[in-house]
Amino acid sequence: MGRFASRSTAPRLDETRRAGDRAVGNGRVKTSRTKELINMASSGVKDFYRQKKKGGATKASPSSKKKTQQYTGGASVGASDTAQTSALVSHGSWDLKDDFGDQEEQLRQFDMDLKFGPCIGVTRLQRWERASAMGLQPPAHLRDLLLRAPSTKNHSSSGPSPECLWEGKV
């Protein structure tokens, strides 16, 4: 089912331990947090619950963009409505498209593009204007996106953010 090895049961005691595995007193190996999520994603959310968690839906998010999300019980940050979360639970598939959608994805690619210089410490619009003034020809449609963006920063808004992707996170 994808790129990660499927592990639906705890490793046998004679299996080689990998770095990051911690032994728990009862002999079962407790894997690190990301491995839990990988397990969950590949083998199905229900299997995961059987092993570890007692209730509470947790959103699977293996993409690196979502590192800072809180993986607590209940609706996670970014889910704008519980209907989507329950859809996730029933299908057990990855939600690769985050709620900001395609536009935010384009803006994040713009943030990461080295050609336009560092992105931290300036708003996206300022960076676009700077790149344009330096003759680097940033994509024109991004400016329109940014001008239509809401001026207040709100995690659960569905529009693109005026700040770079690292804002508030570093």
């Binding site: 080295l114 210089g117 560092p118 931290i120 410490g121 300036v122 708003t123 300022q126 204007e129 700077r130 003034a133 330096m134 001026s151 207040t152 920063k153 005026p162 508030g168």
Partner: protein, 406 residues
Amino acid sequence: MPVPMTMERKQAAYTNLRLAAFAICRIRGTPSRGRSTKGQQYSHIYFTRLHHMRNLLHALVPSWKPQVPVTTVLGLEEGKDCIIVGTLYKHMKLKPSILDEYSKERSAIPLVKPHNFMHPDDHLILEDESGRVTLAGAIAPAEYVTGVVLALRGKETSAGNFLVEDVLEAGLPHQTSLSAADEDKYVVFVSGLSVGSATFNPLQFQFLIDHITGHLGDENEQSIASKIARVVVAGNSVHISPRFLNGQMVASKDQSRIAEPIKELDIMLTQLVASLPVDIMPGCHDPANFSLPQQTIDDLYKYSDAKDRLEFMERTLRWRHLAPTAPNSLGCYPYTDKDPFLIDSCPHVYFVGNQDKYETRLFEGPEKQKVRLICIPRFSDSGVAVMLNLRNLECSTLSFSTSFDA
């Protein structure tokens, strides 16, 4: 009874050309959310500096070394002759670290710093967006500082260094020609007045003011003084006692004394401004914003070597940057959209204040640019002010002494 002759003071047209270049854009619209670190990123200055200088250097490379390919640091191939463009970083063993600064602030008396942080083991590294490479060969670390953008021709060695064969600096920018003047007009430069310090001599400063305003000397001297069109006070006009500046509470009886040097300076300058326009610039000891980089040439002296202060000034002109060590070892504002210290057009007069002694030279560039370089000595130590003739850019001194055996 002879009628006293009235003399008209000469006037010179004045425009501040670079005021807009240093303006700080306010961030519109976004309400403050208590993010105190917003915008404090110096990477933007380096990015804009590299981009601007690289465009300049790329334009100069074809006439310097035609047929040699230009590549990024990551694209270097071993043994292949090529040109790379990037920002220099000088790795210095003796350079103080930021943690030392913390311990120094605790003491009431500033610790004595070594004059110069150079060491034979210092080496240069060239950096661009793709990577860094250590430099070796025909580039002397003693002559360069961190923050200079250069083009280097050479090849990568098996050890992973870049062996430099030749160096290209941006060189002096174009200079607009000086409009011909038919009469002598002077500007007087003075710096390091240090009102409020132990070395300040009020009588000496009063002599300077009296001479400029025409209250001193006979008609001959007065006619020379009437040709002075402007005075520039180049930094360190006041000296506030360090015991008020170490972060401790100031007793109420002392509070009125903090501003006394400024009040005294105000009284003295009032006499001057009644007679002619005066420009005043903040120095590193003046109560002004730390983010205005001061001591750009003194900073070069700490991190590199030259035969005299004027040579440091020549280098900054050739590197086309007023303060290459900012923001590395010199404080400045974290501009995000530009590097305002880049020199776009060659100045006719380039002066540095608060130097140990008076020095001057007429520096000539390859395209017939002529720059009058002036090192202005500290007035409180030397009693010397500099007089510049705007007609021919010749320099002379005004020397004042209050002791008979000088």
